[in-house]
């Protein structure tokens, strides 16, 4: 079945990809300067997934993301400055600095840093939207390593039993922190979903233009049939898990950076004028957003805490 999708043009896609790339690079570059709190998990190399999957969503659609969520957030339409600011713990941050890199919430975007735990929650959101007869669906991202968590299977079972309108996007970068997939995931990933009677599409691509139509088709199915689907995206993480903790063969990564870079793959489609203009624009955006965020105020702790009305 073919669905019509209002796919973004090549220039827009390039800008979307590049925005994530440059954001993450700025994060890694500036971490040693001590401007950010905590740690970070960058999306370098996986940009085409978020951009491809989220290009075509509706405004009411919900995205539940994980620890490696900057790319998802930016592709969803999140603001660069407020993401920088969140990492910097500023009042202007996505969550006023409370959440930090892994704990974002804005409009219909959510993320949390506990592997797997978000999957039942995302499923519940999808079921709520279905019960409300809304048009909205849920897109939940997870990594290959997260398949280790049992609660994921509890959610898959109920998503299938109750036909939740949710797209599970499994970004399989074949590694979890430092653990290669062979040491953590037995059997076959797609079979794990199919066993719960959830239909699966699998792609081995870093090309946003390959990912986008498949995702769009699945999203349309989820929306129209009110039924769960899974999209497995075989992908590569170019950077370290968080910072400076990459123990993989450097040569292999270098090779991947040549063969499987979503930016390079897509860049060929643009004429060089547009390409350069976009690059300059993104560069400028990122720089400005970073500087703004840097200038933004840190929370006044006493005020920030008393302002809260959490009941405990």
């Amino acid at each position: 079945m073919l669905y019509f999708t209002a796919m973004s043009d090549d220039n827009t896609l390039y800008e979307d990809l590049l925005r994530i790339r440059r954001f993450e690079e700025a994060v890694l570059d500036n971490f040693p300067k001590g401007v950010f709190f905590g740690t970070t998990h960058t999306y370098l190399g996986q940009e085409a997934n978020a951009v491809g999957v989220l290009d075509d969503i509706h405004s009411g659609d919900i995205v539940f993301s994980n620890h490696r969520g900057h790319g998802h957030f930016l592709a969803y339409g999140g603001d660069i400055r407020s993401l920088f600011a969140e990492l910097m713990g500023k009042t202007t941050g996505v969550c006023g600095g409370r959440g930090g890199s892994q704990h974002l919430q804005w409009q219909n975007f959510y993320s949390n840093g506990v592997q797997g735990g978000i999957i039942p929650i995302a499923t519940g959101m999808a079921l709520a939207e279905k019960r409300k007869y809304s048009d909205a669906i849920v897109i939940a991202f997870m990594g290959d390593g997260t398949l280790g968590e049992g609660v994921v299977y509890e959610a898959l079972n109920m998503a299938s039993l109750w036909q939740a309108p949710i797209l599970f996007v499994l970004e399989n970068n074949r590694i979890a922190q430092t653990t290669p997939i062979e040491m953590a995931v037995a059997g076959d990933i797609s079979a794990r979903f199919k066993a719960f009677n959830i239909m699966v599409r699998e792609l081995d691509s870093s090309d946003v233009k390959e990912i986008l139509p498949v995702a769009a088709e699945l999203i349309a199915e989820v929306r129209s049939l009110k039924s769960p689907r899974t999209l497995i995206l075989n992908t590569y993480r170019f950077g370290p898990h968080s910072k400076g903790d990459d123990i993989r063969d450097k040569h292999e990564i270098d090779q991947l950076r040549v063969e499987r870079d979503p930016i390079l793959i897509h860049a060929h489609r643009l004429d060089s004028n547009h390409k350069e203009a976009i690059e300059l624009k993104v560069e400028k955006y990122i720089q400005e957003a970073f500087n703004q965020a840097l200038a933004d105020p840190l929370p006044d702790a006493s005020k920030a805490l008393t302002g809260s009305i959490n009941h405990q």
Partner: protein, 352 residues
């Protein structure tokens, strides 16, 4: 007066009838079975679409409910036995209860998780525990426990409709068939009921409470014998075992002329201390009774806060609780592990 079971069931019926957002989820809750302890009986017959029986997936169900709540529904989850709240710890502590504050107050997670606790049914070590103590003190979570001295149905309704935040609602297997006290039966007692004062949840640095001042709804009852000498001991308890304390108090008064004041909060976390403190200030002595194991139960927080507040004016404090052991299946062993009326009477006599 109705039983607790009736009151809770009616509250759920009314909740479903009055608001389309209410959804009930749990294992084996459909009619004709109506749930392991029948609290959900009749609900699915009346509201088949909004009463959902689930797989045996405690963590998953709570996660799904939290997701529903984030998107505007009002889910009520039943965990079949309270012993299994261990399985929902991550979904409650690191997800549902954390979201509101962590997401900068931009979201609300109005779920109610109901579950029966307690022993004396011979169900053995994995079906008899009183486990709420592991969830007392979780930031962002309210823990409630009804008793027969105030209206359990009203408490449940308010937890569903007047609370924007996650609530763990602790029932008790033996409490279900108890009838709610009526004023006649209590006429020999002075009876006060109060909800936490508006300023009860102060936010003070490192003494630690930050409150939503708008929604304190869980009552605390205070009982003391009418026309009796002033009480010399405060007995604090919650839930089913309040009834034990009540029996003990009658016995202490009539048999031993030891006059006590009973304080029964329905809100365990954040710990509602107002009435306990004001009573203990008068009596100087505090006995806390709970069915959970002794160490780091509700009573620890109650006594700690009282000691912090009263200093040397706290003359004597004591807890009555279960031994720090699993709950055995065999009747005599179970009885030996769990606290009983006799233990309350003995402890009270020693304290005054």
């Amino acid at each position: 007066m109705p039983t607790v079971l009736y009151a809770l069931n009616a509250a759920l019926q009314n909740a479903l009838a009055s608001d389309e957002r209410v959804v009930i989820m749990g294992e084996d809750i459909l009619d004709p079975y109506g749930g392991a302890f029948k609290v959900t009986r009749g609900l699915s017959d009346s509201f088949p679409d909004r009463v959902i029986t689930t797989p045996i997936s405690e963590a998953g169900i709570v996660g799904i409910a939290a997701g529903m709540a984030l998107r505007g529904l009002l889910p009520v989850v039943e965990i079949m036995f309270g012993d299994f709240i261990t399985l929902i710890a991550d979904q409650v502590i690191n997800h549902a209860a954390k979201f509101r504050w962590m997401y900068n107050d931009q979201v609300r997670v109005p779920i109610v998780i109901r579950t029966p606790m307690g022993g004396r049914r011979g169900y053995g070590p994995t079906h008899s525990q009183t486990m709420e103590k592991f969830f007392i003190g979780v930031p962002g979570l309210r823990v409630l426990a009804p008793n027969t001295f105030s209206d359990p149905g009203d408490l449940l309704s308010k937890a569903i409709f007047e609370d924007n935040d996650p609530v763990l609602f602790i029932e008790n297997k033996l409490l279900y068939l108890n009838t709610i006290h009526d004023s006649n039966r209590l006429s020999e007692f002075e009876f006060f009921e109060q909800t936490p004062e508006p300023n009860f949840y102060h936010h003070s640095k490192h003494n630690g409470t930050i409150a939503d001042l708008s929604n304190n709804y869980a009552p605390t009852c205070m009982l003391s014998l009418r026309d009796a000498p002033p009480p010399v001991l405060t007995i604090a308890a919650y839930g089913y075992i309040s009834e034990f304390a009540y029996q003990a108090a009658l016995n202490l008064a009539y048999e031993y002329e030891v006059f006590t004041e009973l304080v029964y909060p329905t809100q365990l976390s954040p710990c509602d201390m107002g009435a306990i403190l004001s009573s203990t200030k008068r009596t100087g002595r505090l006995l806390v009774v709970e069915e959970g194991t002794h160490n780091l139960g509700w009573g620890a927080e109650v006594i700690a806060q009282t000691a912090e507040n009263l200093g040397s004016r706290l003359l004597s404090a004591r807890r009555i609780a279960a031994l720090n052991l699993p709950i055995p299946a065999s009747g005599p062993l179970e009885e030996a592990v769990l606290p009983g009326i006799e233990h309350i009477i003995q402890a009270a006599q020693k304290m005054v």
